[in-house]
């Protein structure tokens, strides 16, 4: 009888009603489907993004290459034109240095050189330094001519002339530079002119700046020109002078 008392293993007793809630299952299913749909649309974007990620460096590289090639080509072309201009100017510069040159012919030669625009500016500055009487007058005229069409180049070059304090230039070149800076309305150079005027202070001080030591009357001439140039530029754009 002991066997009859043995309990059956694994029998679970469930109490309460077994109720299937179909509405909540549907809601869950919808939620899962919604998530799946969202996942599908994200997948499309991801796919596009993946393609873009792959293509982007190539596109950027292509654009950069195109732009670089264009600017390099332009720079090379510019350089070729510059070299051609320099070669042609080389034949004109000695004419401007001839001893039998008069003022009118110096102006004519300067006009020919000035037709090369900004490429002629370094030549003119050099002639101001080493030229004879009428060559220097011609160089001043030439710089004025170029300043009418390309003022920025002339202004920037002459600014560096008056900024120099190491004896690279003669006082006559400073004088010409100051004169043209005013005439060409180089307002961006106004502060440099002010600094020049205020720091040249005395003939002894100014002698250290230039290669050929000026005497009192020459110093007075440069100082007067600096004041006149400042007045010209200040009347045009006072803001640039402060």
């Amino acid at each position: 009888m002991a066997e009859g008392n043995t309990a059956l293993p694994g029998a679970i007793k469930i109490e309460g009603p077994l109720q299937l809630e179909s509405a909540s299952v549907e809601a869950r299913l919808k939620e899962v489907e919604g998530k799946l749909e969202k996942g599908n649309s994200k997948g499309t974007f991801a796919w596009i993004l993946d393609v873009l990620k792959t293509l982007l460096p190539s596109i950027v590289l292509a654009i950069l290459g195109f732009a670089l090639k264009d600017s390099v080509d332009q720079a090379l072309r510019e350089r070729e034109i510059q070299l051609a201009a320099v070669k042609e100017m080389e034949t004109l510069v000695p004419d401007l240095q001839k001893t039998d040159l008069d003022r009118a012919n110096a102006q004519a030669k300067a006009a020919q050189l000035a037709a090369y625009g900004r490429y002629s500016v370094p030549f003119f500055v050099n002639i101001l330094e080493v030229g004879n009487q009428y060559a220097q007058a011609g160089a001043e005229d030439g710089l004025r001519m170029v300043a009418r069409s390309e003022p920025d180049t002339v202004c920037a070059t002459l600014r560096t002339v008056i900024q120099n304090r190491t004896g690279l230039y003669q006082w006559q070149t400073h004088l010409s530079a100051l004169k043209i800076l005013g005439q060409a309305s180089c307002t961006k150079a106004c502060r440099d002119v002010v600094r020049f005027r205020d720091t040249m202070s005395s003939v002894n001080n100014y002698q250290g700046w230039v290669s050929l030591a000026p005497i009192q009357t020459e110093y007075d001439k440069v100082s007067k020109q600096a004041t006149e140039t400042f007045a010209q530029l200040n009347s045009l754009k006072p803001g640039d002078c402060k």
Partner: protein, 253 residues
């Protein structure tokens, strides 16, 4: 394309500019302008008017005048400056010496420019032209043409014709505030200039004479101021000088 256009512009400018340039001959560069850091006197060509200087005899006379002129100027200048032979440089007219020209000469430290002209191949008379660079600012136009009945003899006989040399050096020293150095030069120049004015009064027109006298007056004022300034220096030799009855200082005779 750009190059072709630039060439076309160059050619057009060249034609126009050379056309303008040849329309009127002007002063040319000095053949031997000398170093930039010294005061200079430019001696231009001596020419003959109303005839050709082709014959050897005329050429020799012109060369003699040029040589005497240069020598006189050297003697008058002393160590104050260098006399430079400017070759074919020659003004067409005294008015070629305008403000721009004076400014250019001043930048080269040229104090005086001289040229000569003989009235004819067979004539003795002629004139000398003087452009006084430092005097342009005080007595413009500061260009004087002095006639002479016998140009070569005038130059042989004395330095009067080169009176302007010490004067311009004196004015230059004065403008550079070297008063003690300016006084003897201004005195010598004024003295010689007076001789020139008195000697030529019959030859030149009154307006021209008046212009020269104006220069002498300005130089006298300058001399007075130079002496006063020089006297301020201790131990100055001008300290012994006494002013004249009107209170101004004048050069001793």
């Amino acid at each position: 394309m750009i190059q072709k256009r630039a060439q076309w512009i160059c050619s057009a400018i060249a034609v126009a500019a050379v056309g303008c340039g040849t329309a009127q001959a002007q002063l040319t560069n000095c053949m031997d302008p000398g170093p930039r850091d010294v005061f200079k006197i430019f001696v231009d060509e001596v020419r003959v008017t109303g005839g050709s200087a082709g014959s050897a005899r005329v050429q020799a006379r012109l060369q003699s005048i040029h040589t005497f002129l240069s020598e006189n100027l050297r003697a008058s200048s002393g160590n104050n400056g260098s006399v430079r032979d400017c070759g074919k440089r020659y003004p067409n007219d005294p008015s070629d010496f305008n403000s721009t020209e004076f400014d250019g000469l001043d930048n080269l430290r040229v104090v005086l420019e001289v040229w000569g002209v003989l009235d004819g191949p067979a004539k003795e008379s002629g004139s000398l032209g003087f452009a006084l660079v430092p005097a342009h600012s005080i007595a413009p136009p500061a260009v004087y043409v002095i006639p002479s009945a016998n140009l070569l003899n005038s130059l042989r006989q004395g330095r009067q014709m080169s009176a302007f040399a010490p004067l311009v050096f004196g004015i230059s020293q004065y403008q550079n505030r070297s008063y003690a150095a300016a006084v003897p030069l201004l005195c010598a120049g004024t003295q010689q200039l007076n001789l020139v004015i008195n000697g030529q009064s019959a030859l030149v027109d009154p307006a021209f004479l008046s212009s020269q006298q104006d220069l002498v007056r300005k130089v006298r004022e300058m001399t007075d101021k130079a002496i006063r300034e020089a006297r301020k220096t201790a131990g100055s030799p001008f300290g012994q000088w006494t002013p004249s009855s009107d209170g101004t200082f004048v050069c001793p005779r």
